[in-house]
């Protein structure tokens, strides 16, 4: 989210409570807008279709299908997201804007081919009993979602944050609209509505991109050159997304906590819904994180490297280093505070919320754990972001690897321990990663000048 700092600082400069709220609101919208809109969209389609699409199981089949498509496309494109973000940032730094669009198209082609092939193979081999329409729509949805993630990365790289939010609003609005319109056709109708909405979203993004970023070449694969690619970033993207989803996979695969929904796809009703609800609670944490990192931290970060390159004294370099440490510390504390408030509010209102949504209060203990876990995930994300600023990619890779392994093992253990332990696997694995991340971050900061000067 580089470059957002300017806008945030402008909002903060007016120095009133209202401007503060606006800055945090803005940060909340741009950091959480896209995925909040997608979660709400999917929940909305579900609510509106219950009782209309008969039997109810078809709605569940639709939601589970889309969840799998989203998870698989995120993990697949994880391999490209961060590496391509870095490619865009480097070219912007070199003021070579003109090569970015053609490479974006290059990545799109590769992702389309890859997701198309994998999707087609899965549709052909794993869903022999489903209709041709279902299978084709599934493949189309998978390809479109993958392309949308890449387009989102590109627009973020180009600092078009508000454009993204508006396009997602439009796209998921249309998705809900199409799905409601086509729901008389059952599962295939809902899926067709979803695909049509996603197609509109992707077309809108593509139209904005082609309009705003002219390029002399249409397609280029320069970003896959050995010299310009970042294999570490590719693995980080893959592992992070895998880590975020692996506890869900474990719950889906474990027979006592899951049921077959459609074809080989299984879902865990008791686990999934609290998880998605819990993610809605991290909006304030994300906003605080964005404001702190992009304003105060970046100021000292720029000061630090400016002093290093521009002939500042060692004392000045150290002062900025200490400034970075102080802002990271403040930012993390503020996020812990704000997430604690979110947790407390949910503890108070959780029961009523579930009742209002028509969900059994048996889910309540799991929801509590998941809200805490989601808060920890924000902390984890912010530690990783600081590491990205310090360009310590190997540490991030290690933390993401730890996350995948710990989340898989601890979630598996929680299943052995029984329902009262559900959700603790995800929460504890994040707690472990955040703790390790904090310790490693403290060490990295204490050696920052040494490693900056001596090891580069």
């Amino acid at each position: 989210m580089a470059g957002i700092g300017f806008e945030l600082r402008r909002l903060l400069q007016r120095d009133s409570l209202l401007s503060l709220l606006r800055a945090y609101g803005f940060a909340g919208v741009i950091s959480s807008g896209p995925w909040v809109l997608s979660i709400i969209g999917m929940l909305a389609i579900g609510f509106m279709s219950v009782g209309v699409v008969v039997p109810d199981a078809l709605v569940t089949q639709f939601q589970v299908t889309v969840t799998y498509l989203i998870a698989a496309s995120l993990i697949l494109t994880g391999f490209f997201q961060l590496a391509f973000t870095r490619f865009v940032a480097d070219r912007l730094f070199e003021r070579r804007r003109d090569v970015i669009l053609s490479n974006y198209h290059g990545v799109l082609w590769v992702v389309a081919a890859l997701s198309g092939a994998l999707g087609a193979a899965a549709a052909a081999l794993l869903f022999p009993e489903q209709s041709i329409a279902y299978r084709m729509l599934g493949v189309a949805g998978f390809v479109l979602l993958s392309l949308i993630w890449i387009a989102t990365v590109f627009l973020s790289g180009m600092k078009q944050y508000m454009t993204i939010v508006w396009l997602y609003l439009l796209g998921y609005g249309a998705t809900v609209g199409f799905a409601v319109w086509l729901r008389p056709h059952g599962l295939e109708g809902l899926l067709a509505g979803f695909v049509a909405g996603q197609l509109l979203l992707f077309s809108g993004m593509q139209a904005m991109i082609v309009r705003d970023f002219p390029s002399p070449r249409f397609v280029s694969f320069e970003c896959f050159h050995e010299r310009l690619r970042y294999p570490t970033l590719a693995w980080i993207g893959l592992l992070f997304n895998l880590g975020v989803w692996i506890d869900k996979f474990v719950f889906w695969a474990w027979p006592p906590t899951s049921q077959a929904v459609i074809g080989p796809l299984r879902a865990s009703i008791i686990y999934d819904l609290p998880v998605f609800l819990a993610y809605l609670s991290i909006i304030p944490g994300m906003a605080v994180f964005l404001v702190r990192i992009e304003t105060d931290f970046v100021e000292h970060y720029d000061g630090f490297y400016g002093a290093v390159r521009g002939g500042g004294s060692l004392q000045l370099i150290e002062r900025h280093r200490n400034g970075m440490v102080a802002t990271v510390r403040t930012g993390l504390f503020e996020m812990i505070k704000i997430q604690s408030i979110a947790v407390l509010l949910l503890f108070v209102a959780g029961e009523r919320l579930l009742a209002w949504l028509g969900i059994s209060d048996l889910y309540l203990p799991l929801l509590y754990v998941q809200v805490i876990a989601a808060g920890l995930q924000v902390l984890f994300l912010s530690v990783l972001t600081v590491y990205f600023y310090l360009d310590k990619r190997r540490v991030v890779l290690g933390l993401c690897g730890l996350f995948v392994v710990a989340n898989a093992l601890l979630t598996g253990l929680s299943l052995q321990l029984g329902p009262q332990a559900f959700g603790y696997g995800f929460a504890l694995s994040l707690l472990l990663c955040v703790t390790v991340g904090f310790v490693a971050l403290a060490r990295s900061f204490s050696r920052l000048e040494y490693s900056t000067f001596m090891l580069q």
């Binding site: 002093a307 290093v308 390159r309 521009g310 002939g311 500042g312 004294s313 060692l314 000045l316 370099i317 050696r447 000048e449 040494y450 490693s451 000067f453 001596m454 090891l455 580069q456």
Partner: protein, 527 residues
Amino acid sequence: MTATALPRADSVDVMLLLEGTFPYVSGGVSSWVNQIVRGFPEYRFGAVFLGSRPEDYGDMRYALPDNFVHLEVHHVQDVHEPPAAASHRGDAKAFALNATLHETLRAARTAQGGGAPAGAGELLRSMVPMLADGEPLSERAFLYSERSWEFVTDQYRRFCTDPSFVDYFWTVRIMHAPIWMLARIARSLIPAKCYHSISTGYAGLLGAMLRQRTGRRLLLSEHGIYTKERKIDLFQSTWIADNRGVFDKDPSQVAYFRDTWVRFFETLGRMCYDASDRIVALYETNRLRQIADGAPPERTTNVANGINLPRLAALRERRGDDPPPVLCLIGRVVPIKDVKTFIRAMRTVVDRLPGAEGWIAGPEDEDPAYAEECRSIAAGLGLQDSVKFLGFQKIDDILPKVGLVVLSSISEALPLVLLEGFAAGVPAVATDVGSCRQLIHGLPGDDAAIGAAGDVVRIADPEALAGAALRLLTDPDAWRAAQAAGIRRVESLYTQDMMFGRYRELYEWALQDPKGAAPGEGWTGGA
């Protein structure tokens, strides 16, 4: 420059340590090295040539003498691939030694009147083996260890007055970088019975490392003063950063990083003096300067350059008794020779002594613009007929026709042309630079009793130069007295045989195994 043509041997008697000179660069020092090697055909010589970068040198400028049996070439600024970066802690004891060494060297420098760095030799002896790969002070430890970082930042905090840390950091890295290369050379060099360095600087440091590593004796012969010449280079170089702001910049104070480089080379000089068994200067002023720079006085000595006396003495037969009214400046037409002052002096000389001529015998291709300016000054003063630009001339051809050798230089060391003039029976008028006063008036004592072989005047003073020249040319008795003094001085002090004699004494002693004796101990020769 190809490595294939370099002679190789298994061992040598004398290993010369040559920085930026013979056989790849021509000039006074290189000719001297050539003269020495040819003067001792009974010894087998080898050399380590240290250059800056390979592209700075062309082919060899000298045919290698037959007894020059080993040559290896290294470049201190050659970018070699540094070892892969890897963080590690570093060895506490080794870095403590390093801190002590720097303290010792700093103390020696700031001590009143210089002085030797007491104990630095011992420290260096224990540290040099640690410079090897895998040892506690390896290049890797210097570049990447935490203790190295701690030492550099500590030094910066305590001593650096320039605000820019990044410049400080890289200055330290770049100036120290050749040390590991020198240590590698010292480890792999073929055995020699003694070492002879022709300058301090990096060659001198290599000499110190070899002295401590092998225990064989080290001779140091300095023609110029390396530290002084390096200072001139550094003050002229613009690439060294100066980051002081407009207000805290005191123009009378040199930029910190220049000062850092100067101190670094002064320190290398001190380490070399400390390790050398004998320290040879060309003349007394330089010897005193070496002592001021930290050379132990009891190890210093003067050995002047010597000329081929029989050849030049024969030229006396070809001249008359009275001085021809010809003043001759023999040297390249370049600003350091201050040819313009000579031309201006000629105006006065010709006014008072019609018919007098000023000859300028030397190549003009080094600085054509300056040569052109000299010609137009001569024309402007109406001296077209009396000042003659002769281009390069053989001294044997012109010395018999000359009444006075003139040297108007603003800087000289020990100019052979004065000695050659004396030997051929020509007195001289020279500016008071380098050893000119010593050559013309003699050192106090027996030397001065010989009398003056001409006169010495201030630099850039055409009137004084003209006056001194006229006094000699218009008074044949005074001229003949100066001629006689010049001949006696050169015959008694500045012949090639004497120079070889002194170096024979030095080599014979240095070639013996010192059997663990400390540098300078057991000197058996004269002062």
